[in-house]
Amino acid sequence: MVAKRIIPCLDVKEGRTVKGINFVGLQDVGDPVELGAYYSACGADELVYLDISATREGRGTFTELVRKISGRINIPFTVGGGISSLDDASRLLDAGADKISINSSAIANPSLIDAIAGKYGNQFVVVAIDAKLLPDSRWMATTHGGSKPTDKELFSWALEAQERGAGEILFTSMDHDGTRAGYPCETFARLSEVISIPVIASGGAGSAADIADVLSRGRADAALAASIFHYGEIGIRELKQELLAQGIEVRL
């Protein structure tokens, strides 16, 4: 059986990671390559690097960084942030990225999914969806950190993304993100029923129990988290031991 994946997400601004504490044996927590290598050695199954640079220079730095990451890291990694064209995707593939993640650019231009998947394969395209629950019980995709509503309904948009060639869906509930109160597991489980490609759960993890919950009851294939790893609240290895103890298959 394919193991459930644990994926730390690193935010990168102008070539430096912006969150994190210094772990024993890690020289520079601000160096995305060092931090990624550290997580990889701790048992991370994949890494996600999100470019949150606001400037052109910052974006250029990120491509160089992707090259360095791919030289050093021997597990798969995804890059996201500011990818809005096939050229952007090609540039990151050439630099060594295994997958790219697109979010608002896919909503603005859904055929971008077809274009990138058509050229580089479904496995290369992760479609990220930030959704919010409306009072009428519909989950609707949002952009700009949850501040801008869109006309895309979560389940139909996820299905459309799959049909257009997405290889995975990364779903974040903007109602749970940052709350550390756990994931909306029923919604994740339903998403897994609607689509047949893997689902990555993001946003809301406060404890190992939350992650166990979304991987079992929520039927997610992977869990992505940032703060709980960066601030050392849960070590990846101890998290995986905890999951294994609960009968969830993980790579240890």
Binding site: V2, R5, S70, D98, S196
Partner: protein
């Protein structure tokens, strides 16, 4: 010298990086004489088997590859096109491995693509020297090679399939050793030491 066959089909960067980390010399090439002289040959590949086979046919290297006598390693789609046939686009392949490549059918607990870390078992080759049965390797694929007499590793995703194949000097892995952490690095090291 390792020759990585360049047939415009795939992300060569990670294979190059893996060889660099191991300190192996390599060349990315589509030139027949360079491939014939190489000590090791790697046939990478991503995307669809139909497209990959078409690109390989255009290089005119099919007979060259079949006639190689030094160790050859196909990775992922590179391995699939070394099989007999692929269901993907009903594609006639190189016919080195006696296996057919079929599509996974999504069902309860079986998502497609098969993406992530899964176990390899029934390891039967020097390619897996110092690797324990049950080790995790990284897979990303929607089509799989069936079990056959050339199977040297098995994995289960809904059903059991060939995780790796071997026929004489030809090897293939459906998983990505270049992305499989330290286990993958050991497998590439083993291939270089064959």
């Amino acid at each position: 010298m390792v020759a990585i066959i360049d047939y415009k089909c795939g992300n060569l960067q990670s294979v190059k990086n893996a060889l660099e980390r191991l300190g192996a010399e390599y060349v990315v090439t589509a030139r027949e004489e360079v491939i014939r002289k190489a000590d090791r040959v790697i046939l990478p590949g991503v995307g669809s088997a139909a497209t990959a086979m078409e690109s390989l046919l255009q290089t005119g290297l099919c007979d060259t590859i079949r006639s190689l006598r030094r160790p050859v390693l196909g990775i992922c789609v590179g391995m699939q096109i070394m099989c007999r046939w692929s269901e993907e686009g009903n594609t006639e392949c190189l016919g080195i491995f006696d296996s057919k490549v079929k599509k996974f059918i999504p069902c309860e607990g079986v998502k497609v693509p098969h993406m992530g870390w899964n176990r390899i078992s029934n390891l039967e080759s020097k390619l897996f020297k110092d690797i324990k049965g049950g080790a995790y390797v990284y897979y990303v694929h929607s089509y799989y090679p069936e079990l056959c007499p050339d199977t040297i590793a098995t994995t289960v995703h809904g059903k059991m399939f060939s995780g790796a194949l071997k026929y004489e000097n030809f090897y293939g892995t459906q998983f990505h050793p270049e992305k499989s952490g330290d286990i993958g690095e050991q497998i590439i090291k083993n291939f270089l030491a064959l």
